[in-house]
């Protein structure tokens, strides 16, 4: 059984479809890259998968682990292992980063019928995960994303992914706004977190990220739909030739 099956999906908001007739199948152990120009609907797909309340699905279906994903609330999807890494992580002043991570971690434990961990035990878990993604410990007791640099915000997304150990991670432009050093650190972190039982959808505008995380599948988004799919060599071709040769027919 595939992990995720998107069939003929059209969705958008305020009555206008932004993505149209999208179909995509993702199996455990796979890394898919979704590339495309700005405004092509890549981020909308991520938000629909995560369950953003502003987006409405007008047709099609999404099956996740054999269940209807669209029937599940946002938090339900998260507890079932869907993780979205935000393009623009939200700042929440007043919420302690470590406490927030522990709440999220515990929500998952409770779901599995296990006992919650106390702050002391969680601190050990957190230390290990922070080492894994190369994040400075000083960010533990900062307010969630508040005043973080762009790079630290993205690292914090990957830290959350490490803590939550999702089955399906959708990373929305995790690479944008990062300098090459930060990008390498973030990519290494992501690589350490992928294994044969989970799957990754990387949404990116640039081919650069794919030098560090190798996808098996590359899909080109344009005008709200997938106009071309291929192997990793497609990413190189896009880098060399730009998007016009694939997107022109769709527009």
């Amino acid at each position: 059984m595939s992990l995720l099956e998107i069939k003929d999906l059209s969705a958008g908001f305020e009555g206008t479809d932004i993505i149209k007739d999208v179909s995509l199948t993702v199996n455990p152990g796979e890394v898919h890259a979704i590339m495309g120009p700005n405004g092509s609907g890549k981020s909308t797909l991520a938000k629909v998968l995560a369950g953003h309340p502003a987006y409405v699905v007008s047709r099609g279906s999404i099956t996740y682990k054999g269940k209807d994903l669209l029937e599940m609330d946002t938090e339900e999807r998260a507890l079932e292992g869907v993780f979205m890494g935000f393009q623009y992580p939200v700042e929440i002043p007043g919420v302690n980063n470590a406490e927030f991570l522990r709440m999220a971690y515990n929500a998952k434990l409770v779901r599995k019928g296990e006992e919650e961990v106390d702050p002391l035990d969680f601190d050990e878990i957190l230390d290990e995960k922070m080492n894994l993604v190369g994040m400075d410990k000083k960010y533990k007791n900062r307010f969630l994303n508040e005043g973080f640099s762009g790079g630290e915000k993205k690292k914090n997304e990957i830290l959350q992914m490490a803590v939550l150990d999702p089955k399906l991670a959708i990373l929305d432009e995790t690479d944008s706004g990062l300098d090459i050093d930060a990008l390498k650190v973030v990519a290494e972190g992501i690589n350490k977190l992928t294994h044969e039982n989970n799957a990754l959808i990387l949404i990116t505008h640039y081919q650069r990220l794919l030098n560090y995380i190798e996808p098996q599948f590359v899909h080109v988004f344009s005008g709200g739909t997938i106009v071309k799919s291929g192997g990793k060599e497609l990413a190189h071709e896009l880098e060399a030739r730009g998007y016009d040769w694939v997107t022109a027919p769709a527009q």
Binding site: T74, E75, F83, G94, L164
Partner: protein, 433 residues
């Protein structure tokens, strides 16, 4: 035809009784007289009064008060309100009068000196302050405080003294009278050059139906610094006015934070003068309001010299029919170049009937300054809510986290852990219901 009696009449009658009652200190009598004259000139605010645009004082001004006499205070009740870190550095006031037997100054040493205002008024600087501020007073409640001042305290911190222990001033409103009672505490804190003090002022009541009307002055000499937190946790059925005047000299600092649980009416009035170069001011305020509770902040900051800094951050969470307002003006005088000033007011509304008014204002008469102001009124941020839910937090948990964090981000900046813990109980509990 019978004419309705003006609310001022009851105050004048109370004042006559006060003057005749033998509580008056001869040395403070000129202050009382200037105070009542100023009161008569100013009168209680009417609806269109510029200073009270957002504050309805009708209920307060039409209530007839007696002066709160002595009242019993339960020792255990009081101990509960003294912060552990201040056990040996606490001054207790009952209805405005200092209670030596309930206080403990053992950690404070001889660089911390207290005296009665009735004695301190012999000092020219104090006399000028008491009378001068009243003659120019434009806030009727501060004038009223002057009219009734008879206890009052001066705290002198010697030059270069750096007090380690935070000092707590606990103002208790009490009284056996069945009717409405009022008290008018008066405090002057004077710091010598390079002195430092950490101070917590707590307002609480053992009863309901009282009006506490405090005036506090801080004279901060060159290079001195005050870290100040004001905790308003009066009975829900009370009224609270406090005016805080701050006079900052060269390189002086005042970091003032208030946290309010609200009541029938709480109004904080700040008047700050950054008089000489390098002075720095922080004012912040946090409140959580439910039912019909009210908290209002009225602020006037005068940048009178170059190179001064002022920051203001105010956050309110308002539920039910709660009401809050912020009316703040920063005045940058001609010549006060290189002023840096920032004002930020955020209100989080949790019900349709909650009400918040914000009026941030800048008056700039210098040409090389950096000033900013902003105000927001909003509901729970949908993007923040979505973010938390994508991490598996339930709608309910995410909402609670966002409302508590909204004010907690300010409360956590209070540099006294005891106070933070106290506020987590009294303010945050309101949000859990």
């Amino acid at each position: 035809m019978e004419k309705t009696e003006a609310p001022e009449t009851a105050v004048l009658a109370l004042h006559r009784k006060f003057l005749e009652g033998g509580q008056v200190k001869a040395s403070l009598r000129p202050v009382n007289e200037v105070g009542i004259q100023r009161f008569e000139t100013l009168k209680f605010p009417h609806k269109k009064h510029e200073m009270y645009t957002f504050v309805n004082t009708h209920e307060l001004t039409t209530t007839v008060f007696e002066l709160a006499g002595d009242g019993p205070v339960d020792t255990a009740w009081m101990q509960d309100r003294i912060y552990p870190a201040c056990r040996n550095s606490v001054l207790v006031f009952v209805n405005g009068a200092f209670q030596e037997n309930l206080s403990n100054l053992s950690a404070l040493g001889d660089t911390f000196r207290i005296s009665c205002l009735s004695e301190a008024v012999a000092d020219d600087e104090i006399k000028t302050l008491l009378l001068g501020s009243l003659e120019e007073e434009n806030d009727v409640f501060a004038a009223l405080n002057g009219a009734f001042v008879h206890h009052g305290m001066l705290i002198d911190i010697a030059a270069k003294a750096a007090l380690e222990a935070p000092v707590q001033l606990l103002y208790v409103s009490t009284g056996a009278s069945s009717g409405a009672v009022t008290s008018h505490p008066r405090l002057v804190v004077r710091l010598g050059e390079l002195a430092e003090i950490k101070m917590i002022v707590t307002y609480a009541g053992t009863r309901d139906n009282y009006f506490i009307n405090a005036v506090n002055d801080f004279i901060v000499k060159d290079g001195a610094g005050v870290t100040y937190t004001q905790v308003q946790k009066d009975d829900a059925e009370s009224w609270h006015c406090s005016k805080t005047r701050v006079h900052l000299h060269r390189d002086a600092r005042f970091f003032g934070r208030n946290a309010s649980s609200g009541n029938r009416l709480t109004r904080h009035h700040y008047e700050v003068r950054l008089k000489e170069e390098g002075a720095e001011l922080l004012l912040s305020g946090a409140s959580v309001l439910v039912n019909q509770e009210q908290v209002h902040n009225f602020i006037r900051i005068h940048h009178e010299a170059p190179h001064c800094t002022s920051n203001q951050v105010f956050k309110n969470v308002i539920n039910d029919k709660g009401r809050s307002s912020f009316d703040g003006t920063v005045i940058v005088n001609k010549g006060a170049q290189l002023t840096y000033s920032d004002q930020l007011i955020n209100n989080l509304m949790l019900s349709d009937e909650a009400h918040a008014d914000s009026k941030p204002n800048l008056m700039i008469f210098a040409d090389d300054v950096k000033c900013a102001h902003g105000a927001t009124v909003g509901q729970i941020d949908e993007d923040q809510l979505f973010y938390l839910k994508t991490r598996g937090l339930s709608q309910e948990l995410a909402e609670t986290l966002l409302t508590t964090s909204f004010v907690d981000s300010l409360i956590q900046t209070i540099p006294f852990p005891d106070v933070v813990a106290d506020l987590d109980t009294i303010l945050m509990k309101k949000l859990e219901a």
